[in-house]
């Protein structure tokens, strides 16, 4: 599903450059639930943003579902993001003046789907994350966990090939974090490919595979026995 080879990325800061990713090779198969682990500043977000086409690498190859991702213009990148990827951010990134339903329906608007269909589909996904009753609430009227579930519904609504989550539990307390991870595991159980960036050990161990990143290189890549989040919920 995802294949990258020799990926490099540095940030230019005035005259000198900060080399953040120093040759990453890694691949993800369909249906995997992968945690990208590492301490703060190790380059996890940078890697995820490149995988999500929100940012571009300086060097290296990237294939998504057999498609080479290279030299995309903004319009193409936007279309690919819309069709193939779903994002979940630490800070939710919901549009604050839109209701939960409208937020979830927005990616479908950019697909050109008509309003009625959009809303039906959005409502279906809100129901899946258990927020059907909250569909007409603004983000400001929702708790952190609810906001993140709205964001998950929004990421899922286009039925993307890959879900990318950057510290999705970072702004949540541990109980809520486990509830959200339970949801992620359920989604993965249905066969969705998910990448989760985290610096928290317990969250990483709720995935099926952990990739350790340090100083811009992968230092360890191992399959783990998945801890089911459900055990911690209730």
């Amino acid at each position: 599903m995802i294949e990258i080879k020799n990926l490099h990325k540095s940030y230019k800061m005035g005259s000198n450059a900060l080399h953040v990713l120093k040759g990453i090779d890694f691949s993800v198969k369909e249906g995997e639930l992968v945690a990208i682990m590492g301490s703060s500043g190790s380059g996890k977000s940078t890697l995820l943003n490149i995988l999500g086409m929100l940012d571009v690498a300086d060097e290296g190859e990237y294939n998504l579902d057999g498609m080479p991702i290279k030299n995309l213009n903004e319009t193409k990148a936007a279309n690919y993001r819309n069709k193939f990827l779903g994002f979940i951010f630490q800070s939710f990134n919901l549009i604050n003046y839109k209701t939960a339903l409208e937020n979830v329906a927005l990616p479908l608007y950019y697909q050109g789907m008509n309003r009625k269909k959009r809303q039906e589909k959005a409502l279906k996904y809100l129901e899946q994350v258990g927020l059907k009753e909250w569909s007409h609430h603004l983000p400001s009227e929702l708790s952190g966990g609810q906001k993140q579930r709205v964001a998950i519904a929004r990421a899922m609504v286009t039925e993307p090939k890959v879900l990318l989550a950057d510290e999705l539990t970072g702004a949540l307390d541990s109980k809520t974090s486990y509830e959200v991870m339970d949801l992620i595991q359920q989604i993965n159980d249905k066969g969705n490919t998910i990448l989760v960036v985290t610096h928290e050990n317990d969250i990483a161990h709720m995935c099926k595979r952990i990739v350790y990143l340090r100083d811009g290189v992968i230092v360890k890549d191992e399959k783990v026995k998945q801890v089911r989040a459900k055990e911690y919920v209730q």
Binding site: G52, D55, E74, T75, F87, F89, I95, K98, Y109, Q111
Partner: protein, 410 residues
Amino acid sequence: MFSRDTWREIFDTLNKNKLRTFLSGFTVALGILIFVGLVGMTNGLQNTFEYYFSRDATNILYLQPGRTSRPYKGYKSQRRIEFENEDLKDIKENFSIFIDYVSPMIRRGALVKYREESNNYTTIGADWGQQFAENTIMMKGRFINQEDVKNKTRNAVIGRLVEQDLFGNMNAMGKYIDVGGSVFKVVGVFQDEGGDREERQIFIPYTTRQLIEKNTDKIDLIVVGFRPEIGYTGAMALQRNLNKYLKDKKFISPEDQKGIFIRNVAEELERNQAFARVLAIIAAFVAFGTIIAGIIGISNIMVYVVKERTKEIGIRKAIGATPRNVISNILLESIFITTLSGFSGMIAGIALLSSLGDKLMDDYFILNPGIDTGLAISATIVLILFGSIAGYVPAKRAAQIKPIVALNEE
């Protein structure tokens, strides 16, 4: 780009960001309102000038006798100058190639009665020439004619409002009225665009007035109607020559400024029109400045709006908005607000102007202020156009920043 869904998204965004929508709309509406107001007021001022000068013909010199201010040829200073009937004839003969008519005027206030109704009016002893000088329009009957002057008849021509005051709904034609103790027959009713005051005047033959006043041959004022072909410079020359001629005739020192006064309507009109033109130019500058200020205002708001929405744009891009989506949304929003508020401001301005009418006439000399609809619409369109360009630049910039940079914005 113009689907119903696009518009719904735009209305939604505008509706849910009311303060922002209101601010940018208000700027545009205010800009247009001020523009329309300014242009309208200037036009109103010009209307006032026209109003004052259109009521009378402008190819006219008014000759008025005064009192000498220096001794001359054995005459003492402070001598009162008077015009006589003979002066009319002499002027006519000496200046015949320049002159259309020479008409006398003897103004007197009089109590005028018809049955139980009575009122004070200005009576003007005149001849037929006065009809041209005053631009009076006959509604009924006729004006003072040659026969009246020659035979010193007791015929009167009354203003529309005199008829209304004294006769109510009745027809005044052929009725007899008492003018300061003498009985006159109404032979004509006139109207005058000069307004109420002029329509409350009564014309009688000047010879009749002279007869009533102990058969004198004195005249208050001489109105000289010159031929329009002689033009402005011709009129100025005529004025100089008339001045010289009359001073000579009445033994007034050529240096004496007080013996004879000549009022040149054309010159006054010219002066006032020049003033109105200067005013119009100043107003045009200010009005133009208002539009510029409106454009700058809307540009600033657009820059601010886009900056404020950078993160939102980042989110939209992350979930699939193309640069084109981003630009068209921002642009259509801005076009929509500027169009709506621009035309609202324009209509409000026009409505305001037309509601004023002559309310500002007495205090500010502004009459029927108004604006050419074409000009108002053009100004509005210019503002909309530049407002859109102003929106396009930051929108384009926002659409091009990498989504990750936009997302990290706070």
